[in-house]
């Protein structure tokens, strides 16, 4: 008989889940920043200054206004890339990911640790000087995060710990795609006058690029249309950043962790993620748009937040815990 694999310590599961989430978050913020700058260079002046909306994609508008005045490029870049007072800045995310990795260093592979450490050294180095070339910095951060995820895939057994990383990563990814769509859709939609102008096309293409989806969308649908974009980013089953795809993977990982067969559930988090998955599996984009997209996004975010809380209760905090240490939370 083969030896059963060792169950994870709750503390380790917690840290490794957040390590996955923070790396994914850093990558998303870097991508949003990079794509936005690219877009701003293409748009005429009167369209310019669309920097503040990307602060909304991480939901930190209040903290931003507390510390900065206008939503200028300089302010937003500083806030989202380097400001340690913003716990969702690239720097903060990388620091938190590394701190979590450090506390589970014996669980992850050496290659993963080295890669997360290189990313940390890169970000620390860049944060000490004024940003010279933002796109290059964003690109380096993104590639370093991708490399970490790739290294994770090929150097670590796809065991319970790996599934906790994937659970954190996919939930974070689904959350970011949802927020991006929510914010952008309502900025772009009212500009009816622009429909059919080149700028309309460029802006919607930027939405797709913000989630690395432009090329894959083209292959699937060809012409750009807001409805198809919603369908693609929300409900596609194959595109890695589509919400439905992410929730599907998260659901699989949760089942791998508990050992419960697909379609059944053994804890609240499993039940809730299963419900969300089937909702997305059987949703139709026309119906979603008709019934109110913003309401749908809001409800989706609330469900994902609830799932995160349930994972905490089901796996990270044990009922016989007496003194639980602080959690490195979002």
């Amino acid at each position: 008989m083969r030896a059963a694999s060792q169950p994870l310590l709750s503390r380790v599961a917690d840290s490794i889940y957040w390590m996955g989430r923070y790396i994914e978050r850093a990558e998303n913020v870097a991508r949003f920043l990079g794509v936005n700058q690219n877009l701003m260079l293409d748009l005429p002046r009167e369209y310019g200054g669309q920097w503040e909306p990307i602060v909304d994609t991480s939901g930190d508008r209040a903290i931003f206004h507390e510390h900065y005045g206008a939503g200028t490029e300089e302010n937003v870049v500083q806030f989202l890339a380097f400001d340690l007072r913003n716990r969702n800045s690239i720097c903060s995310c990388v620091l938190a990911a590394r701190e979590n990795a450090r506390s589970v260093r014996e669980t992850i592979s050496s290659e993963m640790w080295e890669q997360i450490n290189s990313l940390y050294l890169l970000v620390m180095e860049e944060s000490r000087k004024p940003v010279e070339v933002l796109p290059e910095f964003c690109h380096q951060v993104r590639m370093a995060c991708h490399l970490f995820q790739g290294v994770t895939d090929v150097t670590m057994s796809h065991n319970e710990a790996w599934h906790f990383i994937r659970l954190g990563t996919t939930l974070e990814r689904a959350d970011k795609t949802t927020r991006m769509l929510d914010v952008k859709y309502f900025i772009l939609l009212p500009a009816v006058a622009d429909v059919g102008t080149p700028y309309d096309d460029i802006q919607w293409a930027a939405v797709l690029k913000s989630v690395s989806g432009f090329e894959m969308y083209r292959k699937r649908y060809g012409r750009i249309s807001p409805e198809r974009i919603v369908e693609f980013l929300l409900l596609d089953g194959e595109f890695p950043r589509a919400v439905r795809h992410c929730i599907g993977l998260a659901d699989q990982s949760l089942h791998a962790i508990t050992g419960t067969p697909a379609g059944a559930f053994s804890c609240v988090s499993e039940q809730r993620i299963g419900l969300l998955r089937s909702e997305l599996d059987y949703a139709q984009s026309e119906a979603v748009i008709k019934s109110g997209l913003h309401e749908f996004f809001d409800a989706l975010e609330a469900k994902m937040n609830r799932i995160d809380e349930c994972i905490l209760g089901d796996f990270f905090v044990q009922s016989f815990a007496t003194a639980q240490g602080s959690r490195t939370a979002p």
Binding site: P7, L9, R102, S103, R105, E106, S110, N117, Q318, G325
Partner: protein, 492 residues
């Protein structure tokens, strides 16, 4: 870079018999280094530093808020121990660990050695590290010192001396393994033509030893490593060893102890733990048994241990033999328990509780090294020749206030090894910390950690005091080594 201008300055040098005269075992290595093109060695040095930083092989410095993580300086020129010298070190360490185990077991049982008057009992029973709670305990296999990191030094005469036994929670072995990996990766050519004994088997040996002490000889025991957490200065080592052994690294808050045993909180509920390699000092291990303010430990752990539900390595209470006053009696212990002389001698030690020793020490503070009985890491000591008048007076007052707590030793002219300093080689003082595992048998890792006092003239090698390290090579026995042969050349 060449060794032509290298000056041994009258110290015992591990690589040179005298300026310009390399030792036989070092010749090949020195030739390889000299054959490098201009600037190559320094490029290797920088590459090694980058690699260490990228690998995150760092330690935390207490009380240093900015940049709390630092790399441990690593010098590329290895220190070589010829096979003959090593054989004697190995036998000496095995003898010492065997006897220290016998001593500790005796102290916590019948105290024969005290009753026979070989060691004064008030010296032993007054040691801060003596634990009443351990009286009558029978740890598995009667082993108390599972992992030992003995500090050896060499004086001007080339003789090896034991400086400290480090029985409690010795650290540094991860640097031995990682230094070797880094050197192999950065400068593989340096190994050419030499048979260096590998060190990579240490984690397997450690795991095997830990499994062998499971309570009741349980098969497939659950072994874990207990760390104080990521802020501990040796955290890198804790995570590294846990990773290399494939065991889980736990913190106190992950464990629960009760009358059935010790359990860890996992995602699948509580899981029994059989063996704990603990890297937490006795004082912090269990707030119910030791310091009540400890937040790092596990309440009830000692009770579970005393009930034989779980094994601890190292055994609590073993620090009694680590007390620097009791250290002075190890040669007597060896005679008492085994009827032999110590293979590795102690450094001559003055015990300040003895009136005659104390007056000698107080008169010669400027020449001696004074240490308090229970500090380590280079803290709480006075290096006479490098001290000010004021420091000497402070120590004199401390000694008079608490003579039991102080010892003094002559200032040794520690041996040196060529070390890269700026763009040259200069001699730097070193010590050697071999690692010894004791379970079914006593295993000594070939080599150990060579610590280097990187500051010119300094004798303090501790990492917390700016020390660095070198890879340590024990050579396989071969024709080149036979020439230098025997037990370290000119000794005895």
């Amino acid at each position: 870079m060449q060794f032509s201008s290298y000056d041994t300055q009258g110290f015992y040098d591990e690589m040179f018999e005298g300026s310009g005269r390399p030792r036989a075992h070092a010749r090949l290595l020195l030739e390889t280094v000299e054959s490098l093109s201009q600037g190559q060695l320094l490029r290797y040095k920088h590459a090694a530093e980058r690699l260490l930083l990228q690998m995150g092989i760092t330690f935390n410095v207490y009380g240093d808020a900015a940049g709390t993580e630092r790399i441990f300086p690593f010098d590329l020129i290895p220190r070589i121990v010829p096979a003959g010298e090593w054989d004697r070190i190995e036998r000496g360490l095995q003898q010492r660990v065997r006897v220290l185990n016998a001593f500790i077991d005796d102290i916590y049982h019948d105290q024969k050695i005290l009753k026979d008057g070989t060691i004064p009992s008030d010296v032993v029973l007054s040691a801060v590290s003596y634990r009443k709670q351990c009286q009558g305990l029978n740890p598995p296999r009667r082993v108390w010192c599972h992992i030992t990191g003995t500090d050896l030094v060499r004086d001007r005469d080339g003789q090896y001396y034991v400086l400290e036994d480090n029985l409690r929670v010795p650290s540094g072995v991860s640097y031995v393994l990682e230094n070797r990996e880094v050197l192999k990766r950065i400068f593989p050519a340096v190994f050419e033509g030499l048979s260096v004994r590998p060190v990579a088997e240490y984690p397997s040996r450690l795991l095997e030893m830990l499994e062998s002490i499971a309570p009741g000889g349980r098969a497939n025991p659950c072994v874990v490593m207990l760390t104080p957490g990521i802020h501990n200065s040796a955290y890198f080592e804790h995570s590294f060893l846990a990773q290399q052994m494939g065991v889980r690294l736990v913190e106190g808050r992950d464990l629960v102890a009760n009358d059935r045993g010790v359990f860890m909180r996992t995602t699948k509920g509580p899981e029994r733990v059989d063996v704990i390699y603990r890297r937490i000092d006795d004082d912090f291990l269990d707030p119910e048994a030791f310091r009540p303010d400890s937040l790092l430990g596990v309440p009830g752990l000692m009770a579970a241990y005393q009930a034989g539900r779980v094994a601890l390595a190292n055994a609590p209470g073993n620090g009694v033999a680590d007390d620097k006053v009791i250290y002075a009696y190890v040669p007597e212990m060896i005679r008492y328990y085994e009827g032999d002389d110590a293979i590795l001698p102690n450094v001559p030690t003055y015990l300040c509780w003895r009136d005659s020793d104390r007056s000698y020490v107080l008169e010669h503070l400027a020449e001696l090294v004074v240490k308090s009985a229970n500090e380590s890491g280079g803290y709480g000591m006075l290096v006479g020749p490098h001290s000010t008048r004021k420091q000497q007076e402070e120590f004199a007052a401390k000694i008079q206030a608490n003579p039991r707590n102080f010892i003094a030793q002559p200032t040794l002219g520690l041996s040196r090894v060529p070390t890269i300093v700026d763009e040259n080689f200069e001699g730097r003082h070193v010590d050697l910390r071999p690692y010894i595992l004791c379970g079914k048998e006593i295993y000594v890792l070939p080599g150990g950690l060579t610590r280097v006092a990187m500051t010119k003239g300094s004798l303090v090698v501790n990492s917390s005091q700016g020390g660095g390290s070198k890879d340590t090579w024990v050579l396989e026995r071969g024709p080149a080594q036979e020439q230098t042969g025997g037990a370290g050349g000119q000794q005895q």
